[in-house]
């Protein structure tokens, strides 16, 4: 009997294919198009195509001719952490004009910014889980986020785009029950973080999908000027609130959580995720200290100039938003702003995507995009 020979396999066709992810794709968190070159299931190249949400922020800001009028436009840069965008801007203008801001305003800004940071991280974490198929944590996150938005709505009258900060102070006085509302939230939220950890952080499917995926080494992160949880996830302890303090952040005690590769490699998606979770606890600490120290009385509009007298010069001021370093570069003339540039963390962090997604599977690309936590309003401005 002739020996059985297996048939020769036909030559496997070896070619790459280019596919589009987005602009309308739930996992791109907005209108982002990724031109993905794949070899079978493996991503060989990613080219992000942005600009779908470009609203000419810089052109508008420069043409308004008045520093005060720009504030509502800054809200719309990164609309899930609008207060941080306002805060960065007003601090930049105050530095330019050498304005002193009352204590009460500074404390209020810090408390609001940290509340906003928690709200923004909850959204980031929730949608990150959603990207990977975990629907329940998303709902839990949104319940808590809702509580924060209620407080912010009571303060400013709006849920998303607040227009509450102004150059030199705040738009209107603080509601009387703000302190008690915030205390109530802080007390009720702390146990919820543990709940979230049980649901998502230690979930083995979630760990499988995120550990060792999209590893960003620290030196690459620095060369790309990454910031926020993206940089801290890679093990670099760098937080502007600690390293280059602005406002009154030097008065509070808090830690800077960094990625340690607990589930895989330092700088993977899980590390970026856990940094956000731990930052929420640190934000709670800051809020508690600020609530304790905040002066009870004081006019929040005391230092607001009736007419802003512009100065010649320029400033670059950076602040730590939930997504990283937000910089405002303002060139000022006697007549008003000449050039206003917003350096947004989403824009810079997204530019790293091609470098860290090479060799990943298509399904992992979704995890990587989710872990960067971009907001397309911030990318496109």
């Amino acid at each position: 009997m002739a020996p059985v020979t297996s048939p020769q396999p036909a030559a496997i066709e070896n070619r790459t294919m280019t596919i589009n992810m987005g602009p309308q794709h739930p996992s791109t968190h907005g209108v982002l198009r990724l031109e993905v070159t794949v070899d079978g299931e493996v991503v060989t190249k990613v080219k992000p195509d942005i600009g779908y949400l470009h609203r000419c922020f810089e052109k508008y800001a420069e043409s308004l001719g008045d520093y005060a009028k720009v504030v509502p436009y800054t809200d719309r840069i990164d609309y899930v952490s609008a207060l941080h965008q306002e805060m960065g801007y007003v601090i930049a203008v105050e530095k330019l004009l050498e304005l002193e801001v009352p204590e009460r305003v500074e404390y209020m800004r810090v408390i609001l910014a940290e509340l906003q940071r928690i709200a923004s991280h909850l959204l980031g974490i929730g949608t990150f889980g959603l990207d990977l198929g975990a629907f329940t944590p998303f709902l839990y996150c949104f319940i808590e986020r809702e509580n924060i938005l209620r407080i912010l709505e009571k303060v400013s009258g709006a849920r998303l785009l607040y227009n509450y900060l102004c150059v030199g102070g705040l738009m209107r006085d603080i509601p009387t029950d703000f302190t008690s509302d915030t205390w109530e939230f802080v007390t009720s939220f702390r146990p919820k973080i543990k709940e979230l950890n049980d649901l998502l952080t230690t979930n083995s499917i979630f760990i499988d999908r995120t550990a060792n995926i999209g590893v960003l080494p620290a030196e690459v992160a620095l060369n790309y000027s990454a910031s926020g949880p993206m940089l801290r996830g890679s093990g670099v302890s760098w937080d502007l609130r600690k390293n280059d303090p602005y406002s009154i952040y030097d008065r509070f005690e808090f830690n800077v959580p960094v990625g340690q590769g607990e589930m895989g490699t330092v700088g993977d998606c899980w590390d970026r995720y856990i940094v956000r979770v731990r930052e929420m606890e640190e934000s709670l600490k800051i809020i508690e200290q600020a609530l304790d120290q905040m002066p009870g009385e004081g006019d929040v509009k005391e230092a607001v100039p009736r007419r802003i007298r512009s100065k010649e010069g320029e400033v670059y001021v950076r602040t730590e938003t939930p997504r990283g370093e937000l910089g405002y570069y303002i060139i000022s003339e006697k007549s008003g702003p000449y050039r206003i540039k917003a350096r947004t963390p989403s824009f810079v962090n997204l530019s790293i995507l091609p470098a860290i997604s090479k060799g990943a599977l298509v399904a992992d690309l979704v995890a990587i995009v989710g872990s960067i936590d971009i907001v397309l309003g911030g990318v496109d401005r």
């Binding site: 942005i50 600009g51 810089e58 004009l97 060369n223 100065k311 670059y316 910089g327 000022s332 050039r339």
Partner: protein, 159 residues
Amino acid sequence: MTTEEITEYLNREYGGNLDPTYAEAGDSWITVSPSVLREVAKTLRDDKNLQFNNLMCLSGIHYQKENELGVAYHLHSTIHDHKLVMKVRVPEDNPVVPSVESLWKTANWHEREAYDLVGITFRGHPGLLRILTPQDWEGHPLRKDYEQQESYRNVSTGI
């Protein structure tokens, strides 16, 4: 180190003739000519006393009165924790600036943005394409004399 100290150090060690500029308010900066920009940038990044490993921001500027375009580099060193603002200016009719993309990867998208919105050409950039506006858009929106096109692909732009 402060801007003055850095300028002094550069002049002493590398024999340059840089001079910081001060304004009425805010930051001071140094201006370098485009022909030596890359060399200076490389020194700023690699010199062991400077080590500017972080390019925070890169912005294109249109100086309408002088008929010039400019680029501002906001540098920071996470090792020595000092900052520096470096500027370069080029004439409007030949706006060519050497790219620093090979020194700081973050410059890639920033330079594309400056090219797109202000119209500065970065020599040596690996893929200088528009980034925020469509590839076939006309003009550079952040120029002070920019006039928006009336229609784009037969769709009115609303002016």
